[in-house]
Amino acid sequence: MTGDAHAIALQEHSPVAGVAHDERGGISNPVLGMILFITSEVMFFAGLFAAYFNVRANAPAWPPIPPTVTEELAEHFHHLKAEPWLALALTVILVLSSFTCQFAIWAIRQNDRTGFIRNIAVTVILGIVFLIGQGYDYTQLGFGLADGVFGTTFYTLTGFHGAHVFGGVIMLSVLLYRGMAGQFSARHHDAVEATSIYWHFVDVVWIALFSTLYIL
Amino acid sequence: MTSRPRSRPAPGAIAIGLIVAALLLLVVIALVLRIDLVAGIRNAFDSLFPVRAATAQGQEIRNLYDIVFYFAAAIFLLVEGLIVWIVIRDRRKPGDNELPAQTHGNNLAEISWTLIPTVIVAFLFYISWQSLNKVEAVSLKPDLTVKAIAGQFQWQFVYLAEDGVTEAFTQVIPQGPGGGLSAPVGRNVLVLLESPDVIHAFYVPRFLYKRDVVPGQVNRFEFRLNEDEAGQTFGGQCAELCGIGHRTMTFEVNALGGAEFDTWLQEQIDKAPASPGPSGSAPPPAATLALVASGIVFDQATLSAPADEPFAIDLDNRDAGIPHDVAIRNDSGLVFNGQDVTGPGKVVDNVPPLAAGAYTFFCTFHANMTGTLTVQ
């Protein structure tokens, strides 16, 4: 076939062939790309968190109390912090979903397609439950985005997180579809690795959000 | 491209020749046009420095600028000179295809030009920090406190009494005759900066100083005018883009001798246009003029009132979160200063009797809100 097997071997190990998965070892391009993208997302949330800490540090009281806001609003803000049970439940759900996502990863690395599909499906469901729960929580809070800086920062932070969860659910659903169509194997599953890193990131951001907004 | 002589003059000779030729040319032009070269050069050199400082803090800043300038000039001449020298000296002779020595680097050089600039900037940082402390120092008890309020697009200055809280006198005319921020020389004047709307900046070039006026916080700084500036007037201008009237937001600072200032201030407090008295004590108004402020405009451009009789102005401010008021002036100066009201809200001003004539009414926060008041 070819004259020089050595050159061919080198060709297979050339960097230009290392696009999908890198047989020399080391991270694959899509996974590296996702990690870098997540770095940028971390900085995005950092900007929002900076705004939150800034307005909170400047506020005479936090959550705000009259006369900065009305009695009613102060009551709702206080309730958010005093009784964060729904948010706690959502936290548990999201952490669980990170576990199932990781199980799915381990499964597909072992070429266990069934295990992979099951765990991804559960992850998608948990993600959807989180979104529904978040939406329900919004209706129960008693204050809106326009209700002083407390409302603005709360909804902006949780809202963008929710948008990221939504994006993650879409990505996981695509994985589910592709998995069911048999497109993943132990050798080829870069999209799963990348998506799982994204999903863990979404979980970590939620833990930071929950601690900051509801606890601290 | 062009044919060159075999032997080229030394690059140094070319450089010197060019410089001498340029200088000779300059001198010839100056002689022909009868330009005073010496004064011209001095002016040009002076233009590389800020305007003459009128305050102690400004002088401190000027001294710092001078030190930085001489370092900067030395570095500029050295480095730029090096570039020019190399370009002249190291041009490739046509036909010379030999490689020059392929020097990759020199660690000693790298260390030198890392350490030496570090020492220089450390020094510059140190002296600028020392300077900063002096410039920003605020005395425990300033001799005078003035609140400078910046609105869109007009300044007003509120002189505070000794207790630093009570408002003694409000200067609503920011410049011109009878206007401006009058301040005593040789005394510490504390300026408090407030804005009801957007970010502005209080900037007086002769102070070599500016400070932002930020809504929601009170910035402050102190200045002390040099004694020899008594009788001078300095221009000031808003230096932070604040909207479509930004270029018009000018003011003046009038430097007065100590005693002269005290007299002036007392005069202003005494003849301060009567603020509207408590409602019970004023005689009933002969007429009530209704004025609406909405969209940062008054709804009327002309008002009329009876002469020699007290009248009232009912101001309805419909601009949420924005303060308005009504003040009246004529050519001799301010005759009446009404109460501020932040919208939505109303206020009734009882204006004392005015002589017949033409007056201007205006909002002291917003220069465009103005109209004519005819008293007859």
Binding site: M43 | F69, A122, L124, G295, I296, D319
Partner: protein
């Protein structure tokens, strides 16, 4: 001389509109970036001419009030920064980086295309404000509360500001995706033998720039979104009356915008660092020091942002003053390294080198006048005056734009296969250099005399008349200097002399393939043993590619890459050489 025996791929550049609209080839995308950026350069330049025309003499001649004037300088700044200089440098990097590292394309070609097309979209969104009652008019810095939507019409009501915000959010996203692309490409797709410390400096500057874009731009996005929420959803982030903080915007904004200025200049420095060695016929002096200096500037660049806020009364002044002074040190290291690259070299004063020299001399001035503002009390006098306008234009125009033109003249032959005309290039350089200095040097003096920024008019009695007139004349001279440039480009595209693979005796890999390169960039790569692989090849220090394997499968499209098996003795490095007697 490293040449390949392929037929030139010039026909690729007569491809139709469809090819250009759907391409994922980094070379075409790079050219799209460059052309789009030049279009916005001219557009933003026209806006600047409007500003200068108004300021030429005192009195409002052209405008009845400041509303249009404020839009002019706002859109001039915004377009120049976000639609011209950042994407222009990204476009050059897009074209050159894969070639210089011996890769066939960027890591994610489709995302590369997306990153480009978001730019004209964002630009159109922002400029459409002119058709909807006015663009943003609060300066490119958009400080609230002026940029908020307030009743009364004295802030920023109307859709213009929202269009500005949306456009910038799209452009920022494009930038971030581009940064991811560059980083994966540089880390993962270098040809064998190209270690990190053998990469060309342009690739290093692209790397550091990408890190800055990745880390800083999202913070800007968050600020834009917060302002958008304030304006449209009743938010209170920046409204002091309801617990917000106007200075919060400035902190978040400048946290991005200061690293952004390094994004705007580092790739231009990278280009200059390619050009100086080639036209001095010597290697870059202090290659490693250069890399550390670049990385140092990138890192320090994140710590100085509040030096734009010295007069707000809300900043811990000494820290930011110190960091700002410190950043002069690595910049100085680079300046000396460039100068000593030329020292005892053999300089050919072609147009690329002239523009590179222009960069060096003008960026030096910009760096020096910036140091004045690092001294905080001096900044109290100079902030928000024309001194700052002088500073920013000396670094951005005198620096980056001259660097861009150096890059244009240097890489045009590679991109198009034809040389630009030298005489026209020198005419452009002289006119532009004179025009630039005539416009911006007087602004130092105007600032010292107290002329504030962003005013549509000034008092006749202020004494600023002559200098403003001089600056306006200079501005129009700059505009005139673009005419020989455009003429040069259009004529040379049609009938310029054929360039060949390597018209400049370059050092780096892009000159080892045809001009323009084939779609997959390289047929064969020379051996890579230093940061000047082509120089090594040309001077017999490395072997030319020895084996060209035949692909087993005709459908294999990845290009054959050849690595020479036997080790070659490392070329002796001349660390220190003495001048020959």
């Amino acid at each position: 001389m490293a040449t390949t025996t392929l037929t030139p791929a010039a026909s690729a550049y007569r491809s139709g509109l469809y090819e250009w609209l759907t391409t994922t080839d980094h070379k075409k995308i790079g050219i799209l970036y460059i052309v789009n950026s030049f279009i916005f350069f001219f557009l933003a330049g026209v806006l600047a001419l409007g500003v200068r025309a108004e300021l030429a003499v005192p009195g409002l001649q052209l405008l009845t009030d400041e509303h249009l004037y404020n839009q002019l300088f706002t859109m001039h700044g915004t377009a120049m920064l976000f639609l011209f200089i950042i994407p222009m440098l990204a476009g050059f990097a897009n074209y050159i980086v894969p070639l210089q590292i011996g890769a066939p394309d960027m890591a994610f070609p489709r995302i590369n295309a997306l990153s480009f097309w978001l730019l004209p979209l964002g630009g159109i969104l922002m400029f459409s404000g002119f058709l909807t009652g006015g663009t943003a008019a609060a300066g490119w810095t958009g400080y609230p509360p002026l940029s908020e939507d307030r009743p009364g019409g004295l802030a920023s009501s109307g859709p213009g500001m929202d269009l500005w915000l949306t456009g910038l959010i799209l452009i920022g996203t494009a930038s971030i995706l581009g940064a991811v692309n560059f980083l994966v490409t540089i880390f993962k797709m270098r040809a064998p033998g190209m270690t990190l410390f053998r990469m060309p400096i342009l690739v290093w500057t692209a790397l550091v720039t990408a890190v800055l874009v990745l880390m800083a731009t999202p913070v800007f996005t968050s600020a834009l979104i917060m302002l958008f929420i304030d304006r449209n959803y009743g938010g209170h982030f920046f409204d002091p009356a309801t617990g917000g903080n106007a200075i919060l915007w400035q902190n978040v904004f400048w946290f991005y915008s200061h690293p952004a200025v390094y994004v705007m200049v580092l790739p231009a420095m990278g280009m200059v660092s390619e050009i100086l060695p080639v036209f001095s016929r010597k290697p870059l002096f202090g290659y490693k020091a250069f890399i550390f200096a670049t990385a140092g500037i990138g890192a320090l660049g994140f710590s100085v942002w509040a030096h734009h806020m010295f007069t707000t009364g809300s900043v811990y002044l000494p820290f930011f003053s110190l960091m700002t002074f410190l950043i002069a040190v690595p910049t100085g290291v680079k300046m000396f390294n460039w100068i000593f690259t030329m020292w005892r070299g053999k300089l050919t004063l072609s147009t690329p080198l002239l523009f590179a020299l222009g960069f060096l001399s003008m960026f030096l001035i910009g760096g020096i006048n910036g140091a004045f503002s690092a001294a905080v009390p001096v900044d109290f006098a100079l902030h928000d005056t024309y001194w700052v306008v002088a500073h920013l234009h000396y670094v951005l125009f005198g620096g980056s734009v001259f660097g861009v033109f150096a890059g244009v003249y240097y890489w045009f032959p590679k991109m198009t296969g034809r040389m630009l005309n030298e005489t026209l290039g020198k005419v452009q350089f002289v006119l532009m250099f004179i025009g630039f200095n005539l416009t911006f040097f007087p602004m130092h003096v105007l600032g010292l005399q107290g002329m504030p920024r962003r005013i549509a008019d000034y008092a006749t009695t202020a004494g600023w008349n002559e200098l403003n007139l001089a600056a306006t004349i200079g501005g129009f001279l700059i505009a005139a200097s673009t005419i020989p440039f455009l003429w040069n480009v259009f004529v040379s595209l049609r009938s310029g002399p054929i360039a060949g693979d390597d018209p400049w005796e370059g050092n780096t890999l892009e000159w080892a393939t045809t001009s323009p390169p084939p779609p997959y960039n390289f047929d064969r790569l020379p051996e890579i043993r230093s940061e000047r692989p082509l120089f090594d090849l040309r001077h017999g220090l490395t072997h030319p590619a020895a084996v060209l394997p035949v692909p087993t499968d005709p459908s294999v499209t990845s290009p054959p890459v050849v690595v020479v098996d036997e080790p070659v003795a490392r070329p002796a490095r001349a660390r220190r050489t003495r001048k020959e007697p």
